[in-house]
Symmetry: C2
Subunit: 222 residues, 2 copies
């Protein structure tokens, strides 16, 4: 069986899970506690990050960018990148926006500083980073709202990996109750549409031990 | 004429320049002082980062990841990603390694903290970040040396975008004389081979006003 090594709150793992589910590619999930630096896992991915995909034929694909591009090439029936060069450029521009800029300015400051750092004995949360994270999240919710008001989906008329990347980050933040959904109605409505996809279901039923999500986390009409 | 908006010391711009030159795609370079946040440029790329490619037909491709994937799809004759799914997964794993991990741990700490920050009135360089940058660079030179000792090129038997991404970061750091080439012989020999490519020439003759590179910067036998 195809295996995806992941962590439940990793936005990058969530993006790949959504891509696999949208493409109806079956896979088995395995939690990888990357901080333990397990030797067999380091052989799969020396960067020691999740997600890592191991195909049934033994092919190892490490890194969420490499996995998503691989899935598009290996299983082209359902494309999450769009069809034309112009659509694909826009999807990838937004992927970079959410995975790099949003990832650094928001997810790292909140998920890592506020929730993971102390748990893993990496020191105390940095208050300034957490404040910056909330401030940046407000600005990013406006960007998402701006796109959602002008387009059917974030990258254009078609649902794409850009929607899943953005929703992956937001859903991980929502699990730890860090998203104020009253900030932007258009962003909330867009998220509600992505969250209603069947591909989203296993994300919403996942639980991290010792950490309960807020009541609205699973609610499709939040 | 096709236009590439860039900055001479941006490793991401350098990677795209090398990709364009290797594929023999003609283009005109324009320096974009991103910190001025020029309105016409923000319309091309709201993230206000370089590189941005504008094609002759008007298509705008922003972000170095999006540009490189676009070039591979639009001009497939010379592939810099490899041919098989397995080769392509390895090239992309290493692209992510150099552009994200090396980029954050080394290039940002040295190019940004040591050279750009004060010049752009963004405060004083952070000494701890600079020390971490040099320390991390040592570890990364070992990774490059390790790969170069075992393979013809970093991602395998074929020269690929992984070589150009790594060389793009190192060449920008070399311009500001931050690379100690005695650290790893295999890494130095590999870099010397990449540097000898005709595609590298315009990178080496570029000058940043008020900043002279060290004597060995242009030397192919350094």
């Amino acid at each position: 069986m195809r295996i995806l090594y992941h962590l439940p709150l990793s936005p990058y793992s969530r993006k790949v899970r959504l891509a696999l589910a949208e493409k109806r590619i079956p896979f088995e999930l395995r939690v990888e506690r990357v901080w333990e630096r397990r030797e067999e896992f380091l052989e799969l991915n020396p960067a020691c990050t999740v997600p890592v995909l191991v195909e049934e034929n033994g092919l190892v694909v490490a890194d969420s960018y490499a996995i998503c591009e691989y899935l598009d090439e290996a299983y082209p029936d359902v494309s999450l990148f769009g069809r034309t060069l112009s659509e694909r450029a826009e999807v990838r521009r937004l992927l970079s926006w959410f995975d790099n800029i949003f990832g650094t300015q928001v997810s790292r400051n909140l998920l890592w500083e506020r929730h993971m750092k102390r748990q893993l004995g990496q020191g105390n949360p940095d208050g300034a980073a957490i404040r910056a994270g909330y401030q940046n999240l407000k600005a990013h919710m406006e960007v998402i709202g701006w796109l959602a008001e002008r387009r059917s989906w974030l990258a254009g008329n078609q649902l794409s990996l850009a929607d899943f990347a953005a929703a992956a980050h937001l859903s991980a933040l929502d699990y730890v109750n860090d998203v104020d959904w009253t900030l932007n109605t258009a962003a909330r409505d867009w998220y509600s549409r992505v969250k209603s996809r069947p591909s989203f279901r296993t994300l919403l039923t996942d639980r991290v031990s010792g950490m309960e999500p807020p009541a609205h986390y699973m609610d499709l009409d939040f």
